[in-house]
């Protein structure tokens, strides 16, 4: 029973509330606001501040955030090690059909290996999706002042209306990419 729970994907009504608990957890263990994208800025400040004033601050004061993201990476590794999923990823039949049209048929991994892997890195569409997509994530989250965790979860939880605006824009950008631009990129 328990092993079955750990080897199956968790439903939203278990995972969502537990993710929500991260907000009070971080506040109560050290007065920290749940947010992840800031870690990218701290990495810049620590490794390559250059002559950019935006990165000239004492990043060591925010080192908790780097410990947190290292933990996330380790958590991903532990999940794989301790309770790997047995089955392939179940996906919506319509999505499967659409993706098959672009030659994406491998559902063995959470990250589609036909798009995101070292072998596919030098195909045009993977290069755009990995390098271009990553760049947009890093640029956009900092410009917006937060990502899904900082704005959508922490910000809205604290009733901040700018965070509601940001979250609506995240979704709008995502819908536009998925329905307008992505079909062109996938067809490359």
């Amino acid at each position: 029973m328990l092993t079955e729970f750990f080897s199956n994907p968790w439903p939203w009504y278990i995972a969502g509330p537990l993710i929500g608990l991260t907000v009070p957890l971080l506040l109560l263990i050290g007065n920290k606001t749940f947010g992840i994208s800031s870690s990218l800025r701290h990495i810049c400040a620590a490794c390559l501040p250059g002559n950019v004033s935006f990165f000239k601050y004492d990043w060591k004061k925010e080192i908790w955030n780097l410990f947190f993201v290292c933990g996330i990476l380790l958590g991903g590794f532990l999940t794989l090690l301790v309770f790997p999923s047995q089955q392939t990823i179940a996906i919506h039949p319509q999505l499967a059909e659409d993706l098959a049209g672009y030659g994406i048929t491998d559902y063995s991994s959470l990250v589609p290996t036909q798009l995101f892997s070292w072998e596919s890195l030098f195909s045009a569409r993977s290069l755009i999706m990995m390098v271009g997509g990553g760049f947009l994530v890093g640029f956009g989250t900092r410009y917006a002042g937060g990502c899904t965790s900082g704005h959508a979860i922490s910000g809205i939880s604290n009733l901040q209306w700018p965070s509601v605006v940001a979250t609506i824009c995240f979704m709008a950008g995502g819908f536009f990419m998925t329905h307008v631009i992505l079909p062109i990129i996938l067809a490359l």
Partner: protein, 169 residues
């Protein structure tokens, strides 16, 4: 250096660090470095959740933007509900941190970045199928090629920092 200057510098450093972040809560307590391991533990808990709930899956994000699954809406919606209730309770009962400090909240100022940056991040989110958190978790699950995506995200943040003063806010 006289103390007033130092205080000013500390404030300047704090203001700069607080730019374009949600808010910073600084502990006045000085702790040894290994106290930070509690955040690593919180991260591990969170990373496991991310993977087991398949939030790190590119397919789940696609289903969300194609309105083919309620999963992601359920996750984000219920996370907000629990977060909101927790913050309400912390404020209502003035719950202190485990070190006895008052929990601080700062209002977020609106600027155009939340719209323009938000749209840009949205485009990237649908491409990579990952916000910054899942990028780290994906690498942990063995999708090592995502390191390229993460490096590119760091580069994106750096370029934003470089051009920040010339962008509309």
């Amino acid at each position: 250096m006289n103390p007033i200057n130092t205080q000013q510098e500390t404030q300047q450093e704090y203001d700069l660090r607080a730019t374009d972040t949600l808010c910073l809560n600084e502990s006045r307590l000085i702790h040894p470095w290994w106290y930070n391991l509690k955040y690593a533990l919180a991260g591990i808990f969170f990373g496991i959740l991310f993977v087991k709930a398949e939030i790190v899956s590119w397919f789940r994000i696609q289903e969300m933007f194609r309105l083919q699954s309620f999963h992601m809406y359920g996750v984000i919606g219920s996370a907000i509900a629990v977060g909101m209730l927790s913050i309400f309770l912390i404020k209502r009962f003035n719950i202190k941190t485990i070190h006895g400090e008052k929990v601080e909240f700062h209002p977020k100022q609106f600027n155009k970045g939340q719209i323009i940056g938000g749209l840009i991040f949205g485009l990237g989110w649908a491409l990579t199928g990952a916000c910054p958190g899942p990028l780290f978790a994906q690498i942990g699950t063995g999708a090592t090629a995502v390191i390229i995506t993460l490096l590119s995200a760091i580069a994106g943040t750096w370029v934003y920092g470089y051009f920040r003063d010339r962008l509309p806010h």
